[in-house]
Amino acid sequence: MNIPHLTSIVIFLPMVGAILTILARRTEQVKWVALVVTSVTFLASLGLYVGFDPGISTASSPQMGDVALWFPVAFDIKYFVGIDGLNLLLVLLTTLLGPIVILSSWTSIKEHQKAYYTLLLVLQTGVTGVFTSYDLFLFYVFFELTLIPMYFIIGIWGGENRIYAAFKFIIYTLVGSLLMLVALLALGFMAGDAINGGVFTTDWYKLVSYNIPVSSQGWLFLLFALAFAIKIPLFPLHTWLPDAHVQAPTGGSVILAGVLLKMGTYGLVRFCLPLFPVASQKYAMMFAVLAVIGILYAALVCRAQTDVKKLVAYSSVSHLGFVVLGIFAFNVEAMQGALIQMVNHGISTGALFLIVGMMYERRHTRLMKDYGGIAKSVPILSFFMIFAVLASAGLPGLNGFVGEFLILIGAFKSSVLGSPMLVALATTGVILAAVYLLWMVYRIFWGSLENEENASMADLNGREIGLLVPLVLLMIILGVAPNPFLEKSEPAVRDLLELIESKRAAAESESSLEFEYRYADTPEFRVPEIDEAALKAARKITGASAEETESSFGLK
């Protein structure tokens, strides 16, 4: 079932909502407009889920998308959006978190509501656009568009140290993304001159069909990967994240952890790997090591936190380390695991931030020592928190397990990484996650109620329960029956990995051809002449594959 233009509708509905909120006369109307618009957007995005058919190949064009030339003739830059297996679930995650974030801000945001909800809606358009762009330039525009609202959300509605955090967030990200812009422009001209008749191009499909010279892949890859690594954030570029998370209002934290960080990992999958296959395999080990350091380091840092929000923030660094590890394993299991883990992390960490926000709203403190034993006074809140903690820690049967398990299996047998030791180290991260999360639960929820104020804490109200229930349900569904979701992305993941492999092979044979040309005249390197007929005959007799036959002929 193909619904035309649906992707564009899902992207721009929140923007329309933003215009409506600007025009709204009364402040009370604003949050209702925002809620209705994001809910409608979510319903529309369900159409994407239903309509997306993984059986139809997206190797030449995405589904339910739109394409139009955006720039003048001198540039082949398009408005090109659509859905394929790689971005479908991330789009759904974004649209699901939309109304949830708005509901979570319902009473906690009291000042400048109009600006807040308008910025949230603009932010959603930006994030959805990032995930659905098939033009690198358009991707970049959306990527940067997300910075502006997030900067204000942290800076205006954040905690005491909000200005510092907002600056750190935007400058960090900006350095990375501007360097990516240089790489993007260089790549566009390079591809344009090579395959597009001299016209600058950033069309994803054209770019992936172009084998970028191996000599240029290295620096282009590193500039792209730097931008994404800052966004993810990969150790040691993660220092902006705790500040931004702790200072941001709850809604901002949820969006930040839930979807903004995924723009980095998604960028790696969508652009870095297929565009620079040789370089990304060359640097795979480096990224995997950084990811594992991040997993372990962040987990240890979590254990030392006194501020519960900071703990959840650092746990993001740890969890996204798994995703990066999965991406650089270059096989179907790990990649699938990485994709589903992005969604899982959005759900469970999103829920954790929501609940921490609810606790803060009641007690105005995030320090664990101010709590203790509150399971008795707020049983419903405690139930949801512990549920989210278990999902985040990767308890089998809940969503976190599926992703981490697939990633670890894939990484373990990865031929690119080829280092089971590294994966074994990463696995200890799962244990550490259980340690710091359960320790946090212990300090906040168990024990005796010592603080008077905690005894009179109000439990969750209907609105708060309502916004947590969908997340909890998803934790169970994704944990028990992940297959329907995995099936949606599997063909795309296979296509992607095949593409990477074929491009890598092409680059390799090209460099060996160069070798042959260079040494063609020297007797030592004379290439034996291939007798095609003999090869074919031999293949027929032995039933072996082409490579095997060739190797037995001594050709390779």
Partner: protein, 491 residues
């Protein structure tokens, strides 16, 4: 050539350069009118209508083929029309913004409008010059008017100081320019840009010395490092809306002229290295020093130095792509800067603060004057080069060609300095929105109202900025100037 023939061609020339001639004549009319009816209410309207007429005329001629007038001294149509439209547009918006501002500081005098018209005349002559002598005439006409406009508020010591500083340094720069012209003429025997290259012959050293001195003059006008020292003082001292005009229109004119010189007279690549190094220094020094500024106008002055650096990156690319990117950048820059200075001018609410206004005194203004403050959000993000605003497309339009020409290192430095610039641009927004209101200046008591026309100009700038970012077809227009016809249509 007999006399009747030359007169008939003069008539045709006057018709094709009607906006230029009219601007000059109406400037004189204002002077005369002001002599009889001091500060007549119609004066600003005469200026505005003249500029609006010129703007409309030139816009309609952007698509037309380019040619020359007055015996090849001036260019018309195509790129010339585009540059003229920039100058007229900038002047028109400035006239609208300046009237209430000058009234509020008590210096509303008719001469301002005459000077704006004369300055525009000079800028047009400079920006469309096809001969070294026209370059000099335009350069001087423009500069002298700007010196006077800078020192307009005679009672303000800072303004007088900055005007004197501008005049002395400017005179020096003009000297360099003139010396350069003399040497270039000596080496080639021609004043015409398009004939220069073929006429150099054996006098390479003399020619190069001349070009070097000529570049000094231009780089002074566009406030490139190391000739930028005057900029912060002048911007701080001059009346704020007029700073918007000086920083945009004079830059458009000087850059357009520089592009013509590089494209027509120096097509060889030997100047790329020099321009690239100047661009690098300008971006780095402009952006880094801007970080340390506490006065908004000084900060924007250093920012405008940095933007000159970005435009020079486009020139350093040395390709038609780069020149067209630079011309596009000038359009975006005009919109952003007029808007930003317009907002700052409107926020100088009690007149006394004026040039001394510190950024911190504006804290919390975002919720008092939401329209101005949110417009400023667009200008600041635009200047910092964030998509989807025009500033971003402008940066792509200048950095892209530089990368294409192999100047990737320059582009990398450029984007890093522009990340630095984000800090000081966003600091303005921090003060506007994220800090508590400053009790010392009691922003609670602000009662000034924003004049409707000024608000309209600000909103227009915001809309233009968004449109330029989302509908980048203007790039096609600027690219079409360099399709080879520019040289071909010369007789």
């Amino acid at each position: 050539m007999d006399l009747t023939q030359s007169f008939s061609s003069l008539g045709a020339d006057i018709i094709v350069s009607a906006p230029l001639v009219l601007t000059m004549v109406m400037g004189l009319v204002i002077v005369v009118l002001d002599a009889f009816r001091r500060n007549h209410v119609a004066t600003p309207w005469i200026a505005a209508l003249t500029l609006a007429f010129g703007l409309v005329m030139e816009i309609t001629r952007i698509g037309a083929a380019s040619g020359t007038a007055y015996y090849d001294l001036l260019r018309v149509g195509g790129m010339a029309a585009y540059v003229n439209a920039l100058i007229f547009g900038s002047g028109l918006l400035t006239v609208i913004l300046a009237r209430p501002y000058l009234e509020s500081i008590g210096h509303h005098i008719g001469e301002v409008y005459a000077l704006i018209l004369f300055a525009s005349t000079g800028m047009i002559v400079l920006g469309t010059a096809n001969s070294l002598i026209t370059i000099f005439v335009g350069f001087e006409t423009m500069s002298i008017c700007l010196y006077i406009l800078t020192g307009l508020v005679r009672t303000n010591q800072g303004a007088t100081e900055s005007a004197l500083k501008y005049f002395l340094l400017g005179a020096f720069a003009t000297g360099f320019l003139l010396y350069g012209i003399a040497l270039m003429y000596g080496a080639t025997g021609t004043m015409y840009l398009h004939e220069m290259q073929s006429a150099v012959g054996d006098h390479q050293t003399m020619f190069r010395s001349g070009v070097g001195l000529l570049l000094v003059g231009f780089l002074f006008k566009v406030s490139a490092v190391p000739f930028h020292m005057w900029t912060p003082d002048v911007y701080q001292g001059a009346p704020t809306p007029l700073v918007g005009y000086m920083s945009t229109a004079s830059k458009s004119a000087a850059f357009a002229s520089l592009i013509l010189v590089l494209y027509l007279a120096l097509p060889s690549t030997q100047w790329i290295g020099v321009v690239a190094v100047i661009a690098l220094l300008t971006m780095v020094i402009g952006n880094v020093i801007a970080l340390a500024q506490t006065n908004v106008k000084r900060m924007l002055a250093y920012s405008s130095i940095a933007h000159a650096g970005y435009i020079l990156v486009g020139l350093a690319a040395g390709s038609p792509e780069g020149y067209s990117g630079a011309l596009f950048y000038l359009l975006v820059y005009t919109v952003m800067n007029i808007g930003a200075f317009g907002v700052i001018a409107l926020l100088e609410w009690d007149g006394t603060q004026g040039s001394e206004q510190s950024l911190d005194s504006l804290s919390g203004i975002g919720y008092k004057k939401p329209l101005l403050a949110w417009s400023m959000v667009f200008f600041m993000f635009g200047l910092a080069g964030f998509p989807p605003l025009g500033g971003f497309i402008g940066k792509v339009a200048v950095f892209g060609p530089a990368i294409h020409s192999g100047l990737t290192w320059l582009a990398i430095v450029g984007v890093l300095t522009s990340a630095v610039s984000a800090y000081y641009y966003l600091r303005v927004l921090v003060v506007f929105f994220m800090k508590e209101s400053n009790p010392d200046v009691a922003t609670d008591n602000i009662t000034f109202s924003v004049p409707g026309m000024s608000a309209a100009v600000i909103v227009l700038c915001v809309i233009m900025l968004i449109v330029l970012g989302i509908v980048p077809t203007f790039l096609d227009v600027t690219a079409s100037f360099f399709d080879g016809n520019m040289l071909a249509t010369l007789p």
